[in-house]
């Protein structure tokens, strides 16, 4: 059996789905359930990573430090993971305190063509003796060659593995297989994959990645995550077990954890809504969905038009301000169109 390391960002990516309103009680309850199930890594924090709580991308109900303390108290064998995007997170303000609170695993993420921005954070985490991974977000926006170059940078900075994120849920299996295989062939460190389900491809893309040589996969309970959600973890664990892969996770307890999450954490089950499909087709970050819905309601424009315009402009996470500008422009254009018509 080939081993797959599962990392579970239910308490991080799932934060997007509840506008970053996870409570400490919910963090504690899911951490306990994940610990019972034997999930190797439980990632906790604001949806955009530590230090990202802001008016621009959403203010957290629970401070990062309290979330980490709470999770730490409930995780023993499972490792406590954190996610940081340099720019949102700084070493002194966020990373160092998180390590002091007991984070075991650090993921340092950036847009898929900007690995240079991760050097200091990756190096710092390694210097502190922590397990550290590099993450390339929006990986559908770069060619396999570019991804290899960027991952090699992260490897040279000290990353112990690299994760491709299909942040927009825009990838199809052939593309995933090609990119993962190129990375596996080119790097000396493990490769991972983190899917979103905008086009209903999350599970199959994750399995394709594993078949292509990825040894780290992400999934969340009930797929709880940004946009149309992530790979549904309990499905992934079940199917991996049915195939030639070993995760070390207790399936029954994983199913229990997902049931508990549905009951106690999720205000709704992630679904592939029309805007999610458009977001995937346009190749736009899933975390934009709620901002787009709000702007479309405010400016009375079609959210699908906003998504396609964001895709045309190749918008990336952190450029949420662009949504309002696009919505306003569309409203003006629509008004002019109706006058002329």
């Amino acid at each position: 059996m080939k081993k797959i390391l599962i990392s579970d960002p239910t308490l991080r990516d799932g934060s997007h789905a509840v506008k970053h309103q996870l409570s400490a009680e919910q963090v504690a309850a899911y951490s306990r359930a994940a610990e019972d199930a034997g999930i190797p890594i439980v990632e906790v924090g604001h949806g955009n990573g530590l230090g990202a709580s802001s008016l621009q991308v959403g203010v957290s109900l629970t401070e990062d430090s309290l979330m980490l303390k709470t999770a730490r108290q409930n995780l023993k064998k499972s490792k406590l993971g954190i996610f940081i995007i340099p720019g949102f997170a700084t070493i002194n303000k966020d990373l160092r305190p998180a390590l002091e609170l007991g984070a075991d695993v650090v993921r340092v993420a950036c847009h898929c063509t900007e690995a240079d921005t991760t050097q200091r954070h990756i190096s710092f985490a390694r210097e502190q003796g922590k397990e550290v991974y590099g993450v390339l977000m929006m990986s559908h926006m770069a060619s396999p060659e570019t991804l290899v170059d960027e991952c090699r940078k992260m490897e040279s900075y000290g990353a112990e593995g690299v994760i491709l994120m299909d942040s927009a849920g825009a990838s199809l299996p052939d593309g995933v297989a090609e990119k993962i295989k190129r990375l596996v062939d080119s790097l000396g460190i493990p490769v991972g994959f983190h899917a979103h389900n905008n086009l209903g491809m999350a599970v199959v893309n994750s399995l394709t990645a594993a078949r292509a040589g990825a040894t780290i996969l992400d999934g969340t309970a009930r797929g709880f995550g940004a946009g149309a959600g992530n790979t549904q973890l309990e499905v992934l664990v079940a199917v991996l077990g049915k195939m030639e892969f070993e995760t070390g996770i207790d399936l029954y307890k994983m199913l229990d954890a997902a049931d508990m999450a549905e009951k106690s954490i999720l205000p709704f089950i992630p679904a592939i809504r029309s805007t999610s499909i458009v977001s995937g087709l346009a190749g736009v970050f899933s975390g934009f969905a709620r901002h787009v819905e709000r702007a479309s309601a405010e400016y009375k424009v079609d959210p699908r038009d906003i998504f396609f315009e964001l895709g045309r402009r190749r918008a990336v996470a952190g450029q949420e301000d662009m949504i309002i500008e696009i919505a306003a422009n569309l409203a003006v254009k629509n008004k002019a169109g109706s006058r002329n018509g």
Partner: protein, 359 residues
């Protein structure tokens, strides 16, 4: 004054300083003078002057010479050592009294090569060209030692225990990550061109891996990480199955070899510089753990499902041994113990770096 390093220099020179007799009374210049090589060369020259009356003058050239004042003030304040602030890429003139030169300017930090390969290429290729062009105008020049790299060989075949100077092949010239190795190859070719066209007496040296004082523990190399992990109380984490083979030379030996190459190396030849005795990373971790009084755990993190990717990087140093009488005086375990001792007793610049400098 750093007692550990001074003891190392005295020890390696004992009974052997006669091999460096050509350097007596000479003016030496080292580019990259505040780096790992430059600092150790300065320590060795200081010892030759203090205990063996060599009366050498040493010019350490670097972009930021004040770095030496920070990490080795006992060297920076010496009358026989001169600090010169100069970027080798824009070098026009060298001190005319220079008779021997070591061109070592370049950062071996693979993180820098990955982030800014163009700068790596610029410093190595254009730096070599500038330095050699300026050297053609030196009236009394006797020898230049070009510091190349063991990485010029590319991938060492797994079945080859030690790689000799004649073996080339495996650098992927289409990858940006090859910028450092390819630039070092180019620098050797530039050296060959200056030898042919200007009769510059240039010898090249290809360093492999080292461990010892003045080496920063934040560098992304296995042995540094292992020692750093152990100094923190462990565990030592090995990435992969630990079967890859490396070798490590103590910098006291390294500095002596460099001076010997400078004194007696044959122009036109390239010499490997390193320890010919390879060790697996797994055994290395065990050896490091054994140097601590408390128990240090070792974790092997093998996450690849393929056959483990093993690599080997170990030099064949028979050319240096047979033609220049060079050998090792410090074995790996002693090197590790002295490195630990030095790190426990000295605050390195990395440790004293202001925290606010990090974003």
């Amino acid at each position: 004054m750093n007692d550990i390093v001074r003891q190392d220099c005295e020890s390696v020179l004992a009974g052997r300083y006669g091999l460096l007799e050509e350097l007596r009374g000479q003016c030496l210049l080292v580019t990259g003078g505040t780096g790992f090589f430059g600092t150790w060369l300065a320590e060795m020259v200081a010892c030759l002057n203090d205990f063996h009356g060599f009366q050498c003058r040493l010019v350490l050239m670097a972009r930021r010479p004040q770095l030496l004042r920070d990490k080795a003030p006992h060297l920076a304040g010496r009358p026989d050592i001169v600090l010169a602030g100069q970027d080798v890429r824009t070098l026009i003139e060298l001190p005319p009294e220079t008779t021997y030169m070591v061109h070592a300017a370049a950062s071996p930090d693979s993180r820098l090569h990955a982030s800014d390969p163009l700068q790596a290429i610029d410093v190595i290729v254009n730096g070599a060209n500038s330095v050699f062009a300026a050297a053609t105008r030196l009236p009394g020049l006797k020898k230049i030692l070009l510091v190349s790299s063991g990485l010029v060989y590319g991938t060492q075949p797994w079945e080859m225990t030690n790689i000799p100077e004649s073996c080339f092949g495996g650098v992927d010239c289409s990858a940006a990550i090859s910028a450092y190795a390819e630039s070092k190859r180019m620098a050797e070719t530039i050296a060959a061109a200056y030898r042919t066209q200007h009769r510059l007496p240039i010898t090249a040296v290809r360093p492999f891996a080292f461990i010892g004082p003045y080496q920063l523990m934040d560098r992304p190399w296995a042995i540094n990480n292992f020692i750093r992990d152990a100094l923190r109380g462990g565990p030592i984490r090995i990435l992969g199955d630990g079967a890859s083979i490396r070798s490590y030379m103590y910098p006291g030996d390294m500095a002596f070899w460099l001076l010997r190459f400078l004194a007696a190396g044959v122009p036109g030849r390239s010499y490997n510089l390193g320890n010919p005795q390879g060790i697996s990373l797994r055994d290395l971790a065990v050896k490091i753990a054994g140097c601590f009084p408390r128990q240090v755990e070792i974790e092997c993190r093998c996450l690849t499902n393929e056959v483990a990717r093993r690599s080997r990087l170990v030099p064949d140093v028979s050319l240096a041994a047979n033609t220049l009488g060079l050998g090792l005086t410090v074995d790996l375990e002693a090197a590790i113990r002295r490195t630990i001792l030095w790190n426990q007793s000295v605050k390195t610049p990395a440790q004293t770096e202001p925290a606010d400098d990090r974003v």
